[in-house]
């Protein structure tokens, strides 16, 4: 029977199937961080259960870690990180702590180590686990009770997800990135549009993306409400994986690739839903509201809630504009920001930093703007420094930081002050996400860089116009 990519990967992991009950699904890789794991380990301890497969489990410290040198000063954050260290030691789980050469945001670390591979099931107590779907893995976020369940049994009890094809046809124009694609997808289907679905991103615009850009797309699947996002593995995937620390080698590599090539939706597979996007019509996209679906092309103005047909949408938009301190009709390009944040599991990889450096090089961050550049992992940081990108950032007046989740959610000291406005390469513009009262505009790395220079939401093309004048 014809199947989709998601159905094939699911099928390969069913431990037990009984009609009328959820499937018991085997988990190939379980990633942990300090925020959503302590209560799960506590549950194991109370029940006297061991971690079934420590060798399929990996922990990193990311959400709480400071991005300036020195120890954690917040006593509550410190306890949480120390609790992870104690739990990993007690249960035999490998941990990459602060300062380790392999430390970083959990969704940056897995792929760069080659641990994330096509056809795997990957879970983490973190909704951005969908990132790993870029490799053709079925990867999704889980709650702490499920973290405990996976630690104890290496399985999850789940009902199969429905499948939705996101067909991105045509070719992206220069200056339009993976971030713009996914923001446009979310704006089109809404924050609830993907509920219950695994999204499979397909089409020539997706095939043309690098692995890191594919991770950016899959990362934000959850912002459309989807459980997971996937892209069929191809030569781009295999080239990225080959030679990485945990990738198969020798005869194992050949056997793995032979299998991985079967991991694509059959031509006659039927998706439960399909959405079409023409990549050639996309332009840089930014959010103006307080959920990731409230976005518009950068060339547009702040929308007028009164013009919205749906009553719910209208009320939401009006609330959002009030929180964001925006007036309908203001051109988005005139919205001035205080802070630019480059980083996160969405856009904190080396290609993102290169893109930012390319725009920033030889220019200056506007006097009114503070710019933070936070690499996604220690490896990304070292690579950027080897390429001299850190010099480009600091020469322009930006701050070059240590790796972690940082201002994406402000669990560490990197936060917005009340009323402050950011252009952020992260994934969520919820009220208070980057700090109580903070106002977030989600943008691509290119838009972040140009905005830092011009001081208002901008694309690199705006800089050329500004400088040409």
């Amino acid at each position: 029977m014809a199947g989709t990519l998601a159905e094939k990967v699911w099928g390969e992991h069913v431990v037990r199937h009984v009609d009328g009950e959820p499937d018991l699904l085997y988990i190939d890789l379980h990633l942990l961080h300090e925020v959503t794991s302590p209560q799960a380990f506590e549950g194991l301890r109370i029940a006297g259960r061991p971690v079934r497969r420590p060798d399929l489990t990996l922990a990193t410290e990311d959400h709480n870690v400071p991005t300036t040198p020195g120890p954690i000063t917040d006593p509550v954050s410190k306890i949480q990180v120390e609790t992870l260290r104690d739990n990993c030691a007690e249960f035999g789980v490998r941990l990459y702590p602060m300062g380790d050469a392999e430390q970083g945001i959990v969704h940056v670390v897995g792929p760069q180590l080659g641990l994330t591979q096509p056809g795997m099931t990957v879970v983490c107590g973190d909704s951005h686990t969908s990132t790993h779907g870029a490799f053709g893995a079925l990867a999704f976020g889980i709650g702490t009770s499920e973290v405990e369940h996976v630690l104890a049994t290496q399985t999850l009890s789940l009902n199969p997800f429905r499948t939705m094809a996101i067909n991105v046809t045509g070719e992206l124009q220069p200056g339009v990135t993976a971030k713009d694609v996914i923001l446009a997808v979310i704006a089109k289907i809404g924050t609830g549009g993907g509920q219950g679905y695994v999204l499979e991103y397909r089409g020539e615009a997706i095939e043309a993306l690098s692995m890191e850009a594919r991770m950016t797309v899959c990362n934000m699947s959850i912002e459309a409400g989807a459980r997971a996002g996937m892209i069929a593995p191809d030569d781009t995937t295999f080239d990225y994986l080959k030679g990485r620390d945990h990738a198969p080698a020798g005869a194992d590599w050949d056997a793995a690739v032979e299998h991985w090539r079967t991991l694509r939706s059959d031509d006659d597979a039927v998706f439960d839903a399909e959405v079409d996007i023409d990549a050639s019509t996309l332009t840089p996209f930014v959010t103006w509201g307080t959920n990731p679906a409230q976005g518009s092309p950068l060339g547009d103005a702040v929308p007028d809630p009164e013009a919205m047909a749906d009553e719910n949408e209208r009320a939401n938009a009006a609330k959002a504009l009030e929180y964001m301190g925006l007036t309908a009709g203001t051109p988005l390009r005139e919205v001035a920001v205080d802070t630019v944040f480059v980083g996160s599991c969405t856009n904190g990889r080396i290609e993102d930093l290169r893109a930012v450096a390319e725009v920033i090089k030889g220019r200056q961050v506007a006097d009114s703007v503070r710019m933070l550049v936070v690499p996604g992992s220690a490896r990304v940081r070292l690579q950027a420094e080897a390429e001299g990108l850190d010099q480009v950032f600091t020469a322009a007046g930006a701050e070059w930081r240590l790796p972690g989740c940082s201002m994406c959610l402000g669990m560490n000291p990197d936060t917005l002050a009340p009323g402050e406005r950011s252009a952020s390469t992260s994934n969520r513009n919820f009220e208070g996400r980057q700090g109580k009262g903070g106002r977030t505009h989600l943008v691509s790395p290119l838009v972040a860089a140009a905005t830092a220079v011009r001081g208002t939401l901008s694309s690199p093309a705006d800089l050329e116009l500004m400088e040409g004048a």
């Binding site: 709480n64 945990h246 194992d252 959920n291 009320a315």
Partner: protein, 197 residues
């Protein structure tokens, strides 16, 4: 887990949609390593506003939240469920729940009861007209009753069974441990490990 059959309590109308888990409990409250005591973080940003529904005496002791569509979107934090439960909520009624939130609720004995948006509007109207009015949620019959309003709600059969019986998920899976061991023996040798066991 405590079992759930029927619950009657004060209904709380929260006239918002897209209430993400960052609104249910902001990240700053997620630093704790305990499993209880999250009630102070519930809707933290909104509770500073004295007009917020939970600050009104009639609704303060509510245990049945009635909220707009797309409740619990965003972050996977189970702390959102803990905060609702620690505050005293036993049921959330909405026309659409985010998947991870719905799953987390089921694990913790918080009933996520899905009704149509028309029924949400009816319940809101009832609670506005009857501040402090009670709602009865019957998991056996899958009905919500408030005054003259009786409506059916949707919950998946497996979650319903587990809630009615108060069953622990890990214990259920452990019954099939041999299946897991058998499956493990069939995994390809090239699948990665994080370190040698």
């Amino acid at each position: 887990m405590e079992n759930f059959t029927t619950h009657t309590g004060i209904g709380v109308p929260l006239r918002r949609s897209n209430v993400d888990t960052d609104q249910i409990i902001p990240a700053v409250y997620l630093k704790r390593v305990s499993r209880t005591g999250f009630e102070d973080g519930l809707f933290a940003a909104w509770r500073n506003d004295e007009t917020f529904v939970l600050n009104q005496p009639a609704y303060r002791d509510g245990s049945v939240l009635v909220v707009g569509p797309d409740f619990g979107t965003g972050s996977s934090r189970e702390h959102a469920v803990w905060a609702l439960k620690d505050y005293g909520f036993r049921v959330v009624i909405s026309s659409r729940f985010a998947d991870i939130f719905r799953g987390n609720s089921g694990k913790q004995g918080l009933l996520a009861a899905q009704v149509s948006q028309d029924d949400v509007e009816l319940l809101w109207k009832y609670l506005d007209n009857t501040p402090g009015g009670e709602i009865t949620v019957d998991l056996t019959a899958k009905t919500v009753t408030a005054g003259d309003i009786v409506c059916a709600f949707v919950v998946d059969d497996y979650t319903r069974w587990r809630l009615l019986e108060g069953l622990d998920d890990i214990g259920l899976t452990m019954r099939h441990e041999q299946d897991v061991t058998d499956f493990e023996s069939t995994r390809p040798s090239w699948k990665p490990v994080t370190h040698s066991a």
